[in-house]
Symmetry: C2
Subunit: 203 residues, 2 copies
């Protein structure tokens, strides 16, 4: 039956590992690049150089610029989601303040900055638009699920779903307010107050 | 004393009117252009053509690209603020739902789209950044003042200031969520729910 010899297998596994490591380096470099230079300054070549990968290898993993940057934002968003769940392994355990602060944190770092550049570029570029729309809705749904879980919000009650959605909209708006200036001090006060308001609203 | 003859005056006034009309056409064309084509596609020439004004006349009013687009966003923001106050000449008259909906509307039209392009461009362009930062803070303060007035919010009470700030952050986030898709149906539900929550929080 042909089959794969032990020697072949031993060789293939490290190769897959190397390939996965290259892919990850490219994805992380792509998000940093987008966050720092925006869409106009973000090309496959620039990212390949930043990741220390040949342009050919980069194009092997991501044939187009759109492939690379949408995959990058999705990858980092998944990493952030996993990290957020890991922060609260037993759920919120009643500390909704900490959960609200952690949710808002999702929107104030380089990932949000990168995603923002991608959204804004997609609003003017037909090639990018459907992919980013689809990505945004997938990431948005996952973030909503995490928020509901960690806040122990009972979505069978009227209004609770919209309360959580509005909180995530606020978090996005806080991210935007942090784009040009360090808005951390104001943000902390808003988060503290809204966590109180939310506590009341969620019961 | 020299002085200005009646004939001179008669000639000057229409000239000033014409000049003001040209300026307004340029500002409105600049906002539409930014909203539709983004920063990269927005130059003084493109706007001049759109406004039906010569490039020289446009540069007489706005010597640089930065002058034109920051002035445009500020002008339209002021128009919107005036229109918002005019919507509620007696203040909110107790209808906070209507006020919340009108505040959120500020962030879902072409002005927000234009401002977003300007913010994102400013985050990567040193020439634009200080001017847009200053503009954003001025417009933000004015919007906050209007929100406090129309919501009849008493900022001497603890937390009220931050509640209103958070509402405007939510409005900005809802604007962002509307960038790639028509988010009106979801937004309406979030606004209805948060208007209830706010009613409770503001007392």
């Amino acid at each position: 039956m042909g089959g794969v010899s032990t020697a072949d297998r031993a060789e293939r596994v490290p190769k897959q590992d190397r390939s996965r490591a290259t892919r990850q380096r490219l994805l992380e470099a792509a998000v940093s690049c987008l966050a720092e230079h925006g869409w106009a300054g973000s090309t496959v070549s620039v990212v390949a150089e930043r990741a220390g990968v040949s342009r050919g290898a980069a194009q092997h993993h991501f044939p187009t610029r759109e492939d690379l940057f949408t995959a990058a934002v999705e990858y980092v968003a998944e990493e952030r989601s996993t990290a957020l769940r890991a922060l609260f392994p037993q759920g919120a355990a009643g500390d909704r303040h900490a959960v609200v602060a952690a949710l808002v944190d999702l929107y104030t770092g380089p990932l949000f900055r990168a995603a923002l550049h991608l959204w804004v570029a997609a609003s003017n570029e037909d090639q990018l638009r459907p992919r980013v729309t689809e990505l945004e809705s997938r990431v948005g749904r996952e973030t909503h699920r995490i928020a509901v879980d960690l806040l122990a919000a009972d979505e069978t009650l009227p209004g609770v779903r919209e309360t959580v959605q509005g909180l995530l909209d606020m978090a996005r708006g806080l991210g935007l307010a942090n784009l040009l200036t360090d808005d951390a001090a104001r943000r902390e006060r808003v988060v503290a107050q809204w966590a109180d308001v939310l506590e009341e609203a969620l019961g």
